[in-house]
């Protein structure tokens, strides 16, 4: 598969006609996929295709008969490129290597908003599937017309259409020969039936993998251009702190090889020819800058209490029946509070952006998860027309949500605007990443429930306190870090997407009376979306309480959950999990815990079990095993689904046991891997993932499903091993257990 790169001198249209690419276009009218409930795929058109209906936005048949698929999604380590190639090759009867996948680039690929784990597969893959299937139909019709026969007298393979029983063949390129393939999609588009699949559902190695083991240039951090120079940004000590003065003269004498200092309000950046010179210049600039102190961060406070003290905007998520019974003081109500701290994405590669301002156009290479919304925000910040900002998506290291990608690219863009004609590479320092990335919000949860005489849950009441869960650029400069610091600053919008805070706050169980409330606060730290958003904390609370209730009802925790489940697929993953762990025996001080959730209550089903040992004296927790049973609907790439799920289990275990952003009054204190430790090999348990495939259903996305239940599975296991209930994360402190 060939990598493509952009040629700024050619517009998209020119590009296509110059190079003999063939464009297929059509418009379409369809029913709303998004609103339709899950059913056989042939009946609806995918949402992304509806929003971006032109086929030429998705597919180009190239002169040599290969097909280029254009998607607005980024590779985030989920293997999207391979999965998309599988789907397209399947429907077009091509070999996998006859598909080229071009990822995220403004004015070149469809505007697909953001690449978030759970959305990538569903919309994009389905859109590509329909587009490819429709292109196949059209190509067959064209050949049939050419030979004056019917489509069903033809076969297609490897980019060649052949006539049954005759020696006649036409390659795609010959067939199209400069012509335009036009048409509108008429539903139903005939899709391949799952029984005939050659690629979909198979474990296909990712095409980018050999590049990875050879470490060929894949990442924005590795981009090199003629004349490129290196920049570093010099940030204030903490949010809200302002640059009071900068002794440029004294600084310049200490950094003689400096190419440029860019100052705009509190935004300060330094540029040098060598990367290390830029690093040294940054160090020296810090010594010559005076900053104002800022509103102190709530150091030393009990955050679990503190976040509930904010004036909160409250909203009712769900109310059904009555919940007054919970207030009876008869000992039948179980009630508990839970807390999850601020946690970081902590990408292993510090964020990086490359930018070049040339002939009135700003080119920006970024690992942003949403090139169009980022482009719009950046253009507004710089006062440029959107068309004058060209953003090319280049992979970075894994991001797991909205990390510093857009911000580093913004920093690079600001420097590039001050140095027209020179490509600027600006990489964040490790401490920039740790201290300035937008974190996953701290959250507080309060859950209470009551059992009836048969041991079933009769009443449930739940409240969650959370900051917003997405402050992605969204076309608003106020979501770009550097924009806060400019001389003419763009204020940070008050509350991002709050829906993430109550994601999965409603238990996916059959409970007659329930009430769910969500309270939105604006906390002291910068926040945005982190993998699975609020689902992680909500499921931690819900599934912990489920465990307490099962115990009160004297039931096996799995049976208790099954007794409250009506969805067959939920029951299937739980039973599967039960089978997976049925032969596990607990030694002394060992325990197995489990948890279940259906991600967002509409996506993938996942049940997770954890086995831990808790040291009696030290209270140290050792994870011995993790198991997950997953139903993500139709599986496109089995390897990819298993791999991502294992990654979820390990990462969520790291969050649960170890991770917490720390701060003093005037700084974030967790600025490296020593102060913010993550899981190391010595702590990694054995892991097993089983996927239940449903080729007949739509794919649901697997990127985040295991994240949420893992925390509860772990604390439930710790309870079984030690008798201690952990309700505040991270588990970290041995004292809490020991």
């Amino acid at each position: 598969m060939k990598e493509t790169s952009y040629n700024p001198q050619l517009s998209r249209r020119k590009f296509i006609s110059n190079l003999g690419c063939l464009t297929i276009s059509f418009s379409l009218i369809g029913t709303d996929w998004a609103e339709a409930k899950p059913k056989i795929v042939e009946e609806n058109l995918p949402g992304a295709l509806r929003r971006q209906p032109r086929l030429d936005a998705w597919l180009e048949v190239l002169g040599d008969g290969r097909v280029r698929v254009l998607i607005g999604k980024m590779e985030l380590g989920q293997g999207v490129r391979t999965a998309i190639a599988q789907v397209a090759a399947e429907e077009l009867d091509l070999a996998l290597n006859q598909i080229e996948v071009h990822l995220a680039e403004t004015e070149r690929t469809p505007n697909e908003g953001y690449t978030a784990g759970s959305g990538s597969m569903e919309n994009t893959a389905m859109s590509v599937r329909y587009a490819a299937a429709f292109a196949r139909q059209k190509l067959l019709e064209m050949a049939a017309r050419r030979w004056q026969t019917e489509s069903d007298q033809l076969t297609m393979a490897n980019g060649v259409v052949s006539r049954k029983g005759k020696k006649q063949t036409l390659r795609f390129a010959q067939l199209l020969n400069g012509a335009q393939l036009e048409g509108e999609v008429k539903l139903p588009v005939k899709l391949k039936s799952p029984e005939t699949y050659r690629y979909v559902g198979k474990a296909i190695p990712r095409t980018d993998i050999e590049q990875m083991v050879r470490a060929q240039a894949l990442y924005v951090q590795d981009l090199r251009m003629p004349g490129m120079v290196h920049a570093r940004v010099v940030r204030p000590p903490v949010y809200g702190s302002k640059l009071l003065s900068f002794d440029e003269q004294a600084f310049a004498s200490k950094a003689p090889d400096l190419l440029k200092t860019v100052i705009d309000g509190t935004f300060l950046a330094v540029v040098a020819a060598d990367e290390y010179q830029a690093v040294l210049a940054r160090q020296s600039a810090l010594e010559h800058a005076r900053w104002s102190s800022a509103t102190p961060l709530p150091e030393g406070q009990d955050l679990a209490q503190y976040i509930r003290g904010f004036p909160a905007k409250s909203q009712k998520v769900k109310e059904q029946g009555t919940t007054e019974a919970l207030d009876q003081k008869d000992g039948k109500t179980v009630k508990a509070s839970y807390f999850k701290p601020y946690q970081m994405h902590g990408s292993i590669g510090p964020s990086c952006g490359v930018a070049l301002y040339k002939e009135g156009t700003l080119h920006v290479w970024s690992h942003s998860q949403g090139i169009y919304p980022f482009r719009d925000a950046l253009a507004k910040m710089l006062g440029l027309e959107a068309e004058k900002v060209h953003v090319i998506g280049v992979p970075g290291s894994g991001c797991y949500g909205h990390n510093g990608a857009d911000d580093a690219a913004t920093d690079a863009a600001l420097v590039a605007m001050a140095m027209p004609g020179t490509p600027i590479r600006l990489q964040w320092m490790r401490e920039d990443e740790h201290a300035w990335e937008p974190y996953g919000s701290a959250m507080g949860m309060e859950a209470e429930a009551r059992l009836d005489d048969t041991g079933k849950i009769s009443h449930w009441r739940y409240s969650v306190w959370s900051d917003g869960h997405s402050n992605r650029p969204g076309g608003n400069p106020g979501n770009l870090l550097a924009a806060w610091h400019l001389d003419k600053p763009f204020p940070q919008p008050s509350m991002g997407y709050f829906g993430g805070g109550y994601r999965n706050s409603e238990p996916y169980y059959d409970i007659p009376n329930l009430k769910i409330d969500a309270h939105a606060f604006e906390g002291p730290l910068r926040v945005s979306s982190l993998r699975s958003l609020g689902a992680y904390a909500n499921i931690f609370a819900i599934e912990s309480l489920m465990d307490e209730l099962a115990e009160k009802a004297r039931q096996d925790p799995l049976d208790f959950r099954l007794a409250h489940s009506t969805d067959e697929r939920a029951i299937a993953v739980m039973k599967k999990l039960g089978k997976m762990i049925e032969n596990e025996k607990n030694g002394p001080n060992e325990g197995i815990g489990l948890a279940f959730s259906r991600y967002k209550n509409v996506a993938s089903y996942c049940a997770v079990a954890a086995k831990v040992a808790v040291d009696k004296n030290s209270g140290e927790v050792k994870v011995l095993g993790l198991w997950a049973a997953l139903d993500a609907g139709q599986v496109i790439n089995l390897d990819g689904v298993i791999n991502q799920t294992e990654g979820c289990l390990i990462q969520a275990t790291s969050w649960t046991l170890k991770e917490e952003v720390g701060f003093g009054q005037q700084q974030i204190s967790t600025r490296d891997w020593t102060s913010y430790p993550i899981m190391r090999y010595t702590e990694v348990p054995k892991v097993q993932v089983v996927v239940i495939d449903h080729p007949e259903l739509e794919p649901l996305g697997a990127g985040e499903a295991a994240q949420a239940p893992t925390a509860a599975a772990l604390v439930n296991a710790i309870y079984r091993a030690s008798g201690k209930r952990i309700r505040n994360l991270p588990v970290k402190s041995v004292d809490e257990v020991g």
Partner: protein, 181 residues
């Protein structure tokens, strides 16, 4: 047939003959050193404080070795120096005069063949984003040469300086265990 006229082709910039990045006149004294990198002698003029990591990435254009923390905390920058694994971010280039450095780019025997550990990484699907991978592979090769790792637990212990945020750890260990067999 070629479809794209690349104005900026990062891959092309990364061949062994890639032009060294533009260097301005420097007011600092540079030191001339010779390293053997992936079997080729390289003469470099570097400032005394330039790390081996920056020398590889910025002076020689070998960006396979990754910068993760620049503080010896993550292992992303691991390379082999005279057969031993070292953190290139903590190593000054000038201290390695005459040394034999092997980076991820020099591990495969040829363009068409891979090192057994590279193959094992592919077979075991031992990555997600792949950013930590060069460091993991170099570290694992160094570890295997040390000959101290026999069991899975020992491998975990000896690899614990390499972080993977994507959580690909289990498959990475699987891949390395294949290397031990």
């Amino acid at each position: 047939m070629s479809f794209c006229v690349y104005t900026f082709n990062p891959a092309a910039m990364l061949t062994e003959n890639a032009p060294i990045l533009p260097k301005t006149e420097r007011s600092f004294d540079t030191k001339s050193i010779t390293l053997t990198v992936n079997g080729k002698p390289r003469e470099l003029n570097v400032m005394p404080w330039v790390s081996l990591l920056d020398a590889l990435r910025e002076y020689i254009g070998l960006t396979g070795t990754k910068k993760g923390c620049d503080h010896g905390q993550c292992g992303a920058c691991t390379v082999l120096c005279d057969g031993k694994r070292i953190l290139s971010c903590l190593t000054l280039a000038t201290m390695k005069e005459g040394a034999e450095i092997t980076t991820i780019e020099g591990i495969a025997p040829s363009d068409t063949d891979l090192h057994p550990l590279q193959k094992a990484f592919i077979e075991n699907d031992a990555f997600q984003c792949g950013y930590c991978t060069p460091g993991q592979i170099c570290s694992a090769i160094g570890m295997l040469q040390e000959g101290k790792a026999h069991s899975r637990e020992e491998v975990k212990e000896l690899m614990s300086g390499n972080l993977c945020r994507c959580g690909a750890n289990v498959y990475i260990i699987d891949a390395i265990m294949e290397g031990i067999k």
